[in-house]
Symmetry: C2
DNA sequence: AGGAGTTTGTGAACGCGAGAACAAACCGGC
DNA sequence: GCCGGTTTGTTCTCGCGTTCACAAACTCCT
């Protein structure tokens, strides 16, 4: 289930705050979901709560981490060390969540001089060797859209079975390979869509330029 | 609908390839969705196709762009010009899709010396002035998680009604404000989850694409 | 002009996830 | 030991999105 990582994050925050146990209400609020949904999600993993009390934060956290698979270490390769690839390589949040960047690959020879986040940028042709050496199962694509399908094909050919794609293109891969895509332009466009609807409604209902001051308080 | 930007991207690709018209089958394949779903989505906008022929690529592209709202120009501010913020500022794909970065803001005075992507990094305190000056409706948060809620509150207070959040935290905002979040760690964790299941199932020989009928009801 | 072939638009069935509601279980006090 | 208060785990229902299937509509060829 795609919400487990959110619960895991919320539990980590609670644990850092020193909370020992929490109810489904509290955890649901921290994760931004309905408490019934949260309980149903957790019940899929087993009965890790105590009725009348709630959940033991650290215990539940470990159970979810184990279910997701982040108790073990996942080696990752990043291909395309441009603006985005460098930002990803420098991101500390991956390491702390069980992902270890074992290699940065780029097709541009000019990049091979660079060291990003303490890791040498290496030629893309080293992909096969590195994947085999470190038993890499997860690959990240941060190349331009035109190169992404080729990169994905190469990844699949040498045994990678999960791909995170940042290029704005629909990748075609065999059914046994998992693909997740992150497209920032699409996110912005969805916001623009709703924004347009808001302002259209405002032209009829409200005076332009005026922001309603009601209910600007966060709903807990 | 969240799939419209995907269709728009596919149509742009087709148009660049010189395709004048396309059927729902073709477009659906390019967008990676079912053709019936695509037709239903498009019929929601109006009858822009011709039976027996298909859709005029450029005409449909304009109609979808208008529906989404990317025919107009959307000013955007980015707050938190670290690794990720700089990558975003340098990304040319935003401009080409109707989004214009009007300001880069950061709380760290050391950043204010910098020029990123030809834009001065300015103090976060300038937020109100800039938002008012450029009529900014969309804000991007690329600060650490701890600062994100404060930044969001400030954004909301000065009239921003759509926020794209990269910080790994659940933001609380008034109901009229749209939030979209991008959490790369969560994406990787979802991949790890499926990866773990794959390798577990591999111990028993299985046909790819078939799912054991036991407790594996997590088809994303 | 008419028919054959093609493709859109949409009505209807299906499946699935979300949310409300409730019984079972647990804790603490008396 | 029992009882009130609390919280989980689960069942049931509802609504939505997806998909199939088909009639209407258009083009092209004869
Ligand atoms: N920068 C962003 O914030 C951002 C935002 C949204 C989407 N994206 C997408 O992410 C991708 C990368 O963006 P970017 O800004 O980092 O681009 P970039 O041009 O800065 O970097 C791309 C890198 O990929 C390398 N590359 C090109 N072809 C390759 C190949 N065949 N094999 C290996 N490496 C190859 C290039 O040498 C370059 O270093 C693009 O598809 C872009 O659309 C980026
Ligand atoms: N770098 C990545 O690839 C990546 C990946 C996933 C998630 N993220 C998330 O994106 C966010 C930014 O990541 P990053 O790697 O760019 O971090 P970073 O530390 O490089 O940059 C953060 C920037 O925010 C600024 N900042 C801090 N507090 C601020 C405030 N109150 N107002 C305005 N600016 C403030 C800092 O001065 C800094 O420049 C983090 O929340 C991180 O978890 C980053």
């Amino acid at each position: 289930m795609a919400r487990l990582p959110v619960y895991l994050r919320a539990l980590t925050t609670l644990s850092d705050q020193g909370t020992g146990t929490c109810s489904s209400e509290e955890l649901a609020a921290a994760a931004g979901v309905n408490s019934a949904k949260l309980r149903k999600d957790l019940s899929y993993l087993g009965s890790y709560g105590t009725r009348g009390v709630g959940y033991d934060v650290d215990y539940l956290r470990y159970q979810i981490a184990r279910e997701i698979g982040v108790t073990q270490d996942w080696p990752v390769v990043i291909v395309g060390i441009g603006n985005l690839g460098q930002a990803l390589a420098n991101y500390s949040g991956f390491r702390s969540r069980g992902f270890r960047v074992v290699a940065l690959l780029d097709a541009d020879p000019a990049r091979h001089e660079q060291v990003v986040a303490g890791i040498d940028v290496r030629p893309f042709d080293h992909l096969e060797r590195i994947v085999h050496e470190h038993a890499v199962a997860i690959g990240v694509i941060a190349t331009p859209a035109l190169a992404a399908q080729d990169v994905a094909d190469r990844m699949v050919a040498c045994g990678i079975t999960s791909i995170l794609n940042f290029a704005p293109i629909v990748l075609t891969v065999p059914a046994q390979v998992d693909i997740r895509k992150v497209d920032l332009s699409i996110e912005l466009q969805i916001l623009a869509y709703h924004e347009q609807r808001k302002t259209q409604g405002a032209s009829r209902a409200e005076v332009p330029g005026e922001v309603p001051a009601t209910a600007t308080e966060a709903t807990a």
